[in-house]
Subunit: 358 residues, 2 copies
Amino acid sequence: MTTPFTVDEIIKGIEPIDADWQARAEARTAELAIPPRALGRLHNLAEQMCAIQRSLTPAIDRKAVLVMAGDHGVARKAVSAFPQEVTLAMVQAFVAGGGGINAIARHVGAEVFVVDMGIVPEIDADIITTNYRLLVSKIAPGTFDLSEGPAMSREAAKQALLAGFSHAARLIDSGCEVLGTGDMGIGNTTPSAAIGAVITDAGLDEMVGRGTGVDEAGLARKRAVVAQALKVNQPDARDGLDVLSKVGGFEIGGIAGMILACAYRQKPVVVDGFISTAGALIAATLCPAARGYMFAGHCSEEPGHKIMLAHLGLRPILDLSMRLGEGTGGALAMGVIEGALKVFKEVMTLAEAGVVKA
Amino acid sequence: MTTPFTVDEIIKGIEPIDADWQARAEARTAELAIPPRALGRLHNLAEQMCAIQRSLTPAIDRKAVLVMAGDHGVARKAVSAFPQEVTLAMVQAFVAGGGGINAIARHVGAEVFVVDMGIVPEIDADIITTNYRLLVSKIAPGTFDLSEGPAMSREAAKQALLAGFSHAARLIDSGCEVLGTGDMGIGNTTPSAAIGAVITDAGLDEMVGRGTGVDEAGLARKRAVVAQALKVNQPDARDGLDVLSKVGGFEIGGIAGMILACAYRQKPVVVDGFISTAGALIAATLCPAARGYMFAGHCSEEPGHKIMLAHLGLRPILDLSMRLGEGTGGALAMGVIEGALKVFKEVMTLAEAGVVKA
């Protein structure tokens, strides 16, 4: 498979998931020694995986989560409960293995990689060189304030997409069978809400939520900031790159790129929460066929997330009032998906069990 | 800890979960390097586990699922889509490792034990003696038809409870840190619906569902059978043993007994779906304090399950349209609970990560 060099080449190279393998998988499910489809969505998860991997023995033994990190010019408008310095602190925590995502990834057997897509500080060179799990594709030290103009140039948006694509493709080359999306970036529910509002056409009362926990005044400020961003930038909902560049973020572009890489390479991708799904909206706007490769890990507490998922036609696997991001919901869902694959591959057939219907 | 010999001794020996450990666990959660309670229900799961295990390092490394099997006299009223012979076939499938529960239990690292609490056929002696995972506590070869009188005597109901208690206690003695409930028994959504209707006072339209998949006529027949069972037997909703004996089943009694064993020994128990929750209703009626030791693994497709869970004050961990039973939903949820414990124990503190709030 040749490596694509442009966003257009990526989009042209993506094929839909395979309906024939889907049908074969459904036939296999019907033979299992359980009442018809009695394991509900576990069957759907396994069948979608068959249609993605073109196989009746789908496997996600080798798992990785890519946590895309970026800073946001709009953070100076006090849209978050935390200061911008926390982005770097959390990147360092992930590299040290001490974040929420690290604990959950260890639990499901996934490796965690962190990408500096454009945080404000420079990470110490010796931290970078001594940690193969820390990757650097810094587009710029934070985006511009999207409430006053475009967050980044169209060229920077393409760079972010291509960087995310490359990192994901390299993991796939190294044998990863499933990727999980993750994010870190103080202020990033603000661009995510803006992307959600543009692409799903939902109102800001529904789409803008409390993020890490702003108070009433903070929420009102955040809504006003998003409203201003949409007014100032007038993003074109049909043009994913336009939306990403005007009201997005570098880590969101990276997430969109990694999703496109999974679709391009016919690998499943487990999308995490609100920020990751904003990236998925960008990816699906650029290439609707990419949706077939997506699993929605969970439904976030962030109220707009449901609307985004419905727009993408995705049903979340978990619904546990989580709102951390980092990839935690997607990683936890990998365990459920893996259980579904074991059911598909390991349960006896009705014939083997000697069961006949009344 | 002395072994209790009567149901009354068990009930007297059960202490509520520990509010002090709950408070200490909440204080620990507040120190984690994430926004306040941003992992939602994962925090609650970990804290409940601390309150059960009286520890800030709760662990469920050693897991087992006990699948209680029994047959039902009411099966002759054609309340199931499958013939009674399937109960034995599935017990044999579980022993061979080929059931849905086996696949999911392998996935989460749980052992599966199957108990013949009272299926109709005798299991071949050489299958029993060569399989330490098959246990036999046959109260009788199937219950009586509950639509024509009590399903079993009050004495038999006590025996079923005590047998379930003993099997669970032995697993706890052998080092199990968490148990999952499971069931197998053609026809057993019928007694479960009857138990649910008596104890929650819900109507039969809500409480009686399609089980493994009866058609419209079968559903109407099932509702009429449950209505008749309640009318003929007049079970006393405040007396768990009366409800179990009149409209229950041997495997449901076994499940109630294993839940009481977990509460008595201060171990967590993950309750599976509709049938298991009928057992949990019996256990909670006998001893309300036992509820603190329960986790609701999932919300079943069987419509009455939601009502049962609400009555017990339990929120299901998963909601994946599953309706197989066998313990599958509870076992799958063990993976989520274990992820929650890893977050609780392994994530850095805010101080360690160098994060301060704005």
